[in-house]
Symmetry: C2
Subunit: 144 residues, 2 copies
DNA sequence: AAAGAATATATTGCGCACAATATAATTGCG
DNA sequence: CGCAATTATATTGTGCGCAATATATTCTTT
């Protein structure tokens, strides 16, 4: 068998598999907060800086409007955010946390810790792995 | 702002983002073969060992029947595989490559090379990154 | 000021990914 | 043997993720 087509020789399959495992790791924890992992990511962005355009959230997370629009509408339905057209530029939709959305942050404080418990690795090793991953990531994305 | 909720301090976000970038990298290449990345993964498994149960493919790729059944039906429609109930145990569906599916392998030989061109990293570094990722992966999955 | 280009978001359609449930076949136990 | 438990796949429903396209607004150029 051609070596290059063996699953065990693939680099990308572990990346794909790990990403799935990671979101599975978050699932039970985030379900308690009635959130999905992508919704949680959007909130991480908003907790850091509120009142953003859809496109600004998209840039941060590499997600387009086809993904974000329905996701944001679901967050709106849960009254975690507000979507409002910008009066200065009616093309723009600004996303603002509601008070409920802002308060949710306190409940989310414990999430990273719970996740890290599953990673039974030293902080240094985590740093090294993260560096490896982000290096590959910046390389791929810079190539476009 | 609480440091632990900063996006830039997350380990899992780069993993999530990298997995998306990777499938985006495969997309134009696999589109030429009329395949998606998960379909390609199924074929990697079958090219290595043919005539597998749905569950055996699922174990290999960590995918359940909810994902695989429709995916395999699409591969069947493209006449790349055959789905047939096992006569010994009618609960089991065996997946076999068609001659077209077997021939597709030749056209796929070039895929890993094209992908690796996008990773402008030395083989040693790729190996190290892969090790880091698979280590985390086995750790998480062994914890269940 | 009007027409056309550019921009921002929304919509549609398709294919995963996974939980929950359903269906059908097989096995095991009394 | 007969029936409950188990096993294997299928179905349903929800939520991404992304390409392609649509719609609406703003900017540009003349």
């Amino acid at each position: 068998m051609a070596e290059n087509l063996k699953l065990s020789n693939q680099l990308c399959f572990p990346i794909y598999a790990l990403a799935k495992e990671v979101t599975n790791l978050y699932r039970p924890i985030l379900t308690e907060l009635d959130l999905t992992y992508p919704q949680y990511l959007v909130l991480l962005v908003l907790w850091e800086k509120d009142d953003l355009k859809v496109s600004e959230i998209g840039e941060r997370l590499s997600l387009d409007s086809g993904t974000l629009t329905p996701l944001l509408k679901r967050l709106e339905q849960k009254q975690i955010i507000e979507r409002k057209r910008d009066s200065d530029d009616e093309r723009v939709v600004k996303i603002k946390l509601t008070s409920k959305g802002a308060r949710l942050k306190e409940n989310a404080e414990c999430v990273p810790g719970k996740i890290m418990e599953s990673f039974d690795i030293s902080p240094e090793n985590i740093g090294a792995i993260k560096k490896g991953i982000t290096d590959v990531l910046t390389q791929i994305t810079s190539k476009k």
